[in-house]
């Protein structure tokens, strides 16, 4: 059988974002997959020399709209470390609340898109309906649905009052019940299992060797989660990484499903631990020195390298995002698959191209 090259993307109905894969197929089997990137590259790391270090918060939030809060959290932590200040306890707990709400809405969004990738339209609609409740919480507590912009250097800019905390807790009870009602469909439904179990298997050793991150790594049985570093308020919360061992698409979706329930639990814990206090500390001076910070995004480990030279502008901002780490494992599991499984497997890494290319 002769080899054929089939282009996948950059504009494809299953992908909301442009990525191009040249799929070399023999009959119906994929023999090779060559990714091409660059369609979303903006060069925003270079903006650090044009914008001052406070304005950069707004820029890094727009690295990726889905996990914007976690990007700015990582950046602010880095600058705080460089300047030798620490956010007040209330601010750190509030950061946990919003970052976990972001993780929750990101996982629900992904589970929906994943269902859509194998044609389960009604599950997609159901999950996105649940997700809108989280967007309502974001909007009413911070003023924006997607890019919440709560982080400032030295703390947060928004606060929660008693009534809002009660309302968030009530909303989370309903959200949790709705998510749990879909558990058997996502994990055990025959049609879902047929499309996900045993498809795109990444072994534990391969995941480790290829440097996979986040649910991709934990779905292959490696218990690594950056929240174990106890950044923000995670030092006071009970937390265990979610691990599955099968390494296939099913394991990755199950990790994300269980993590969305875990996020609800973490938001509750953080809300219970809120005590009255300041929202931000006063910032004096200019950032100087270099620092590396890491946080756990919905898609995995996110690393920021920041270098300041004592002026208003940073000298260098380098962002390493989880999807970038997950592309080599993706290229390794695509060969040998049926052509029809390619959209499912590509989506199973939760690709965020705007993060990858910045």
């Amino acid at each position: 059988m002769a080899r054929t090259v089939i282009p996948f993307g950059p504009q494809h109905p299953v992908l909301p974002e442009p990525i191009h894969l040249s799929l070399v197929v023999e009959d119906e089997k994929v023999v090779e997959a060559l990714p091409t990137l660059g369609y979303v590259h903006r060069g925003l790391e270079m903006l650090a020399v044009k914008r001052d270090y406070n304005q950069m918060i707004q820029i890094v939030e727009r690295v990726c709209g889905i996990c914007s809060m976690i990007h700015s959290l990582c950046y602010c932590q880095g600058i705080e470390e460089m300047m030798g200040i620490q956010a007040p306890r209330r601010a750190r707990m509030l950061r946990v609340v919003w970052s976990e709400l972001h993780r929750l809405h990101s996982h629900l969004l992904w589970l929906g898109l994943f269902a859509d990738s194998f044609g389960f339209e009604s599950l997609f609609m159901q999950l996105w309906k649940i997700r809108e409740r989280i967007m309502d919480v974001n909007e009413s507590t911070t003023g924006n649905r997607v890019i919440v912009s709560v982080n400032v250097i030295g703390g947060v800019r928004a606060d929660l009052d008693e009534a809002q905390i009660r309302w968030i807790k009530d909303t989370l009870i309903e959200v949790e019940a709705s998510i749990r009602s879909l558990q058997s469909t996502i994990m055990n439904d025959a049609t879902v299992c047929k499309r996900t179990r045993g498809i795109g298997v990444l072994t534990q050793q391969a995941a480790y060797d290829l440097g996979a991150a986040g649910p991709m790594l934990r779905g292959s049985g490696v218990a690594q989660d950056m929240r174990q570093l106890k950044y923000a308020g995670f030092d006071e919360l009970n937390f265990e990484p979610v691990v599955e061992t099968a390494g296939d698409c099913w394991a990755r979706s199950t990790v994300r499903f269980r993590e969305s329930l875990q996020s609800i639990d973490l938001v509750r814990q953080a809300l219970d631990k809120l005590e009255p206090g300041d929202l931000a500390v006063k910032v004096k001076g200019k950032p100087e020195g270099e620092v590396i910070t890491r946080v756990e995004q919905p898609r995995g480990e996110c690393l920021y390298y920041l270098k300041g030279n004592g002026t208003n502008n940073l000298e260098r901002v380098r962002i390493r995002t989880p999807t970038f780490a997950n592309i080599p494992p993706l290229a390794a599991i695509l060969p040998g698959l049926d052509f029809a499984d390619v959209p499912v497997v590509v989506l199973s890494i939760d690709p965020c191209i705007s993060c990858t290319e910045r």
């Binding site: 369609y39 709209g65 889905i66 914007s68 309906k129 649905r145």
Partner: protein, 147 residues
């Protein structure tokens, strides 16, 4: 008679093609949220399609960069006339926060003509729906003028 049927249905049930042209995903997920039960644009007969040859409305999010300008022009050329282009979000309108970034050319009107601009970072689903409805009034005008 078939022609007039087509003209009516293009305004009553426009098919929509979404292209992410270098946005941060914020506007993309808001565009997708329009299709889901809470906003549900399908009740207006709007369907999201994957093939530009089936589409009447092109919804573009994000800035144009050196690489995707060609893809955007290509998609626009493949769509049958008359067609509508909606630029969603601050980036699509002018380049937004990225307008001074090295690889960014600016808003999408640098490459293709835009009919409706939607402000916001990210634009809210209500604003996107409003833009589609506003654009359809314009499309209706074009169709009536061509009778």
């Amino acid at each position: 008679m078939f022609g007039s049927f087509l003209k009516t249905s293009q305004v009553k049930s426009p098919w929509l093609l979404h292209f992410d042209c270098g946005s941060c995903n914020g506007c993309d997920i808001e565009t997708l949220a329009c299709l889901t039960p809470v906003y549900d644009v399908e009740r207006f007969g709007i369907i999201n399609v994957g093939n530009p040859r089936h589409a009447d409305v092109l919804v573009v999010t994000g800035t144009v960069n050196q690489r995707n300008a060609v893809i955007l022009k290509n998609l626009y050329d493949q769509m049958p006339s008359p067609k509508l282009v909606i630029a969603v979000g601050a980036c699509g309108c002018s380049g937004g926060v990225f307008r001074e970034a090295p690889n960014v050319l600016g808003g999408i009107d640098k490459v293709i003509p835009v009919d409706v601009y939607v402000p916001g970072c990210p634009a809210k689903p209500e604003a996107i729906m409003d833009a589609v409805v506003t654009g359809l009034a314009k499309l209706k005008g074009i169709l009536e003028a061509s009778k």
